[in-house]
């Protein structure tokens, strides 16, 4: 990419970042991101209070990291980041169509693919910042209930630091993967809710999909990268348990490559679409 195109990407990012971070319409995304922080903070406060009162539930750091892993995989990744990315990335094209302001970009001497890359990067930066900060705050809130010796032991001798890094990495990769999916959905469909619902069901059904189909989902790669694995719920109905095919978790580098490849493929498809994109605000 030549220098002008980089300048254009930066120009788009500058314009979009501002809209994404400070849009009133995106207020609920902050709520999504910060809800688990509030929950862990509340838990920590309760634990500290109980300790002061001489009553303790004796939650070890190991137990807490296991609980956190469950919340991270089943709530934060699958729901909070999923819907957050839906809100952020869908807004990039479909939101501007609704605001009737997309044509200003299309009237500048910039290839539409450059616009797509700029918008995607802006969404990625916004989503990554919001959700990574939330991940960091959640971990801080979880650890806050323990004394400094326990924390430093966890961080430096029990792979705590690498776990934190993994969680942050998975958060950013989730934004990258879901972001590409919803950017494409926002461009391809006038009402992206239908594809969003389909993706939600597809991602939720990932455990029961055949091994080959599992690979065409974001959660498959993300799960492989999570530092603590959560076993299949023993309470799962037997019929469903039979369907669950436990595909071998992929190696870290393969998971990252797979996810990047998946996102790149979706972005390339979006690029093909953006070239043919027409402005017809009346149908919005």
């Amino acid at each position: 990419m030549n220098l002008l195109r980089w300048q254009q990407v930066l120009g788009v990012i500058r314009l979009e970042i501002r809209k994404t971070f400070f849009a009133k319409r995106g207020f609920w995304i902050y709520l999504l991101a910060l809800a688990p922080v509030g929950l862990f903070l509340l838990h920590t406060i309760i634990e500290i209070q109980l300790r002061h009162m001489g009553r303790t539930r004796d939650a070890s750091i190991g137990q807490m990291s296991f609980i956190y892993a469950g919340i991270f995989q089943f709530f934060y990744l699958r729901l909070a980041i999923f819907f957050g990315c839906l809100g952020i990335f869908m807004n990039l094209f479909r939101g501007e169509m609704l605001d009737k302001s997309l044509h200003f970009y299309l009237l500048t001497p910039m290839r539409r693919e450059v616009l797509l890359v700029g918008k995607y990067l802006a969404g990625l930066i916004a989503a990554s910042v919001i959700f990574s900060i939330s991940t960091a705050l959640q971990l801080a809130a979880v650890l806050a209930q323990f004394d400094s010796a326990t924390i430093s032991h966890f961080l430096y001798q029990s792979h705590g630091l690498s776990q934190i890094a993994s969680y942050l990495g998975v958060t950013i990769l989730a934004c990258l993967g879901y972001g590409s999916v919803f950017l494409a959905a926002g461009m391809l469909f006038r009402n992206p809710i239908i594809p969003a619902a389909v993706v939600l069901v597809w991602e939720a059904a990932n455990p029961v999909l055949p091994s080959i189909l599992k690979k065409i989902s974001v959660i498959y790669y993300l799960k492989s990268l999570c530092p603590v694995s959560i076993p299949v719920d023993p309470g799962m109905p037997s019929l469903l348990a039979l369907l669950v095919s436990n595909a071998e978790p992929v190696a870290g580098y393969l998971a990252v490559t797979g996810l990047l490849l998946l996102s790149a493929l979706i972005l390339v498809a979006s690029m093909k679409r953006v070239r043919r994109l027409e402005i017809n605000y009346t149908t919005e």
């Binding site: 300048q7 009737k100 910039m110 290839r111």
Partner: protein, 311 residues
Amino acid sequence: MSDRIIFDNVSKFYGDVLGVNRVNLSIPPGITSLVGPNGSGKTTLMNLMTGLIRPTRGSIQILGMTIDDPENLFRVVGYSSQFDSFPKGLSGYEFIYSYLLLYGFDRAQADEFAWRAIDRVGLREAAQRKVGGYSKGMRQRIRLAQAIAHNPRVLILDEPLNGLDPLVRAETIALFRSFAGEGCHVILSSHVLHEVDIISDQVILMSAGYVVAEGNIQSVRNEIQDQPMQILIRCKQPSELAARFFEEDDVVEVRLHHDRAGLLVKTTNPTRFYRSMNHLARTGVGLESVAPVDDDVNSVYEYLIGEEGSR
């Protein structure tokens, strides 16, 4: 490189709905007005020119460039659309400046161009206010400023005079003239026919998605042969002159002007009529002036589009 905007057999359909059909145009520099009733395809034509929509059939070239080449095309094209909407949260200055950066101008250049454009539309005082708080006229002007900020050679303006007060209207028309004077294309659409008449070098009349006429307005009028041309003749003895006109084969109607100091003559052959007028002038009927009264856009519009336009 061509200096024309060329539409080669362009059609655009929105599903089953016709936008424009089989448009063939070659637009020279100068002020060109698109005239036609609502839904006649004026905006579709402008959107096609700027690649905001793509032709179903045919091809478009702007000064030799295709609409698939935005990197070059939009260095020379500026478009002020009719969409009265702006990116949220930006001031007038930020709106122009931010988009100028996408042209590859450095910050100092973008700043200079932005202020110059803002000055040209007279919005310096309001430039730092949020566009959301602007009046309709101000929004129209800031859109115009955005379209001209990068010094385009082709300026496309959809209803650019809408919402402007008379003073600003006059200033804006002067701005268009100065652009056209520099050899640029100014293509605008308007419903105000007398303004179109005043400012246009050529017109494109549209109706129901078809181009019904194009070119210099007088030439267009001459082409409409099924409507006799109306000529106003000022003279001292109108009744005597009227009697003489009845002897002419090509004169189909003669009426006394309401101030009784002239005649309104309808002729099917203006050339022959003017020639006979030369002859009459020498006979001492006291001719003061001879001028056509229906070779303006209004009349042409009435003849070609007629009632359809007023629907």
